[in-house]
Amino acid sequence: MAILADENTRIIVQGITGREAASFTRDMIEYGSHVVAGVTPGKGGWNIHGVPVYDSVKQAISKTQANTSIISVPPAGVKGAAFEALDGGMKLIVIVTERVPRKDVIEIIEYATEVDAHIIGPNSLGLICPHIVKVGMAGGPASDVKKAYSPGPVGIISRSGGMTTEIANLLTTHSIGQSTCVSIGGDPVVGSNFLDLLPLFERDEQTRAVVIFCEPGGTGEERLAEYVFEHRPSLTVIAFVAGQFADAMPGVRFGHAGAIVEGDKGSTRSKIEKFRWAGIHVAEKFSDIVSLLNETV
């Protein structure tokens, strides 16, 4: 099993004719994902790596029974693209675009909640269910993805796109496979944060542990800790918290828009304390993730 996506996922790529989108479309196809259509208004009739392009999501769905969308359009167009996808009935939308105004993101999330759809991102590299489907850019070319990702019992939820692959690779080299790996995005507001995804992993029979990659900023980690403390899920949660040096520099943004300590909120120290309180294992060094998994699972 997997969460969110599987062999029945049929993907449309909104913004497919862009350079980046065309490139990851090819990577997805080579990995075996079913990319059934692309949408770029005005370029209906084009063909990108064998994928037919339509002018609208509505047209694309009527021809292809797509159920998932990946959006790679400039920031100003993301809300419109997401609304179009939700209006068309998409239940999973991955937003790759970075720097989308947070008011727009919140509006998209509100709409998605109304129709029970999942939003991953923005500023996300997408998700991968190893050997089944890749939705987005994570891992890059198919040959690289196959080296880094392997199927198995560990889920990954990461605020960093690149580190999703690094963690998967670390696990794979130690013969620990992954169920579903999600890059949730580095922005302060994201469609699905740790708390949104953990229950899905809990319900997944394949997943026995989840590794989370955390950064300074926000209170997503703290909220997850509270959930774990109260609900005592049967799966193990292991956290790696990056950017501990940022605690000494509140107000400074490090890389991701969401990675900023504000006042006394969002420090890595408070996240780590909260994790320990909740029974979430914290890896001191990156490589400790493996030893913790071996000890606890």
């Binding site: 490139s23 990851f24 990577d27 920031p75 100003a76 720097r99 989308v100 105004p101 947070r102 008011k103 919140i106 509006e107 509100e110 709409y111 590299l125 850019m137 994570a138 891992g139 890059g140 070319p141 690289d144 880094a148 990461s158 960093s160 796109g161 690149g162 580190m163 999703t164 692959t165 690094e166 690779n169 580095g186 302060p188 507001v189 944060n193 990659f213 950064e215 300074p216 926000g218 209170t219 997503g220 703290e222 790696f240 990056a242 950017g243 040096f245 509140p250 107000g251 400074v252 943004r253 490090f254 890389g255 991701h256 828009a257 969401g258 990675a259 006394d264 060094k285 990156f286 490589s287």
Partner: protein
Amino acid sequence: MRLLEHEAKTLLKAQGISIPSGKLFTASSDVTYDKPGVLKAQIPAGGRGKAGGVIFVNTPQDVKRESARILGTNLRGHTVETILIEDQLEIQKEYFLAVTYDTTAKSPILIFSSEGGIEIEELARSNPEKIVRERFSVRKGFHEFQARNVGIAGGLKGKELVDVSSIIERMVRLFLSCDATIVEINPLGVTSKGECIACDAHIDIEDEALFRQRILFEKYGIGKRQSGARHQSEFEKKAQAIDDLDHRGVAGRVIEFDGDLGLVIGGGGASLTTFDAVGKNGGRPANYCEIGGNPSVLKVKELTKHLLFKTRGEEDCGHYECRFQYSGGPGGPRCDQRDSGIRKRPFRNDRRVQNPWCMGRGRMEDPSPLRSPIL
């Protein structure tokens, strides 16, 4: 981007919210005010009062002396280029009002307290029951009855309830229309005549939304400025200029530290991870820097040069190594482009670039099996 107080007040006024009468001055020679006033330094930072940036000026001599003293000086890391002098007001009550985003709950939130004028975080610790919080929906919009519900919960009655509710509704309207991340009025002062006046205002506009807020500049003359709580150093500004060379990817967002190990790292998460790891193992980074989005060879080359030859003023900062690290995946920058950037740059004998080590896939012909022992 944080607005100056007077800019925030201009926006509030445009929404029909009363602000104190006042005047702006930029040069101490012109400063005169013909009644008792409050002189306020206009800088994009809070905590001005404690830093001596808010002063009562009761006589023309006060005005001349204080304006000359403050203009052009450094306050909380910013040069005071503008001051605002406002009428002193007889305020009987002070309220706290703010609209901002609860990013974890993923909704905007309205905060009201009948105890205005003090730090809201302090109040949250000492008397949390005095703070009213109300979430609302961006899609559904915000209506005056919701504002009244907040006022009622906050203990307001009579004409004040009606007036403050109206102000709340206008604040929310402003918050949404100008893509603010916070609109705060603290305090909202109520005069003896019952008039509600925004005595101090704080507005941050989301950087990511500035592209669609040109009206701020065109109509209100609010210019785009450096964001962030700290001033950029010269070293950082030059790095920023490198990033601005072209729009291919990002290579030049640098934060200066005072160690001797230069770092150029692909990806936000990897940079945070590596920076920590270096520190934990006794290394001293000279800078934080993250690159991504397939930056051009030119930018990477210039950035490497800039980091390798870091100086402080005239003084050469000594020997530097520059350690590169590539994180997996595209969206992560291309290793081969970075390589050619490195090879192109000139370097003296005393500077070394550590053989670029690959922490993962990257896009290289031969993904180096180097796995750093420090991670």
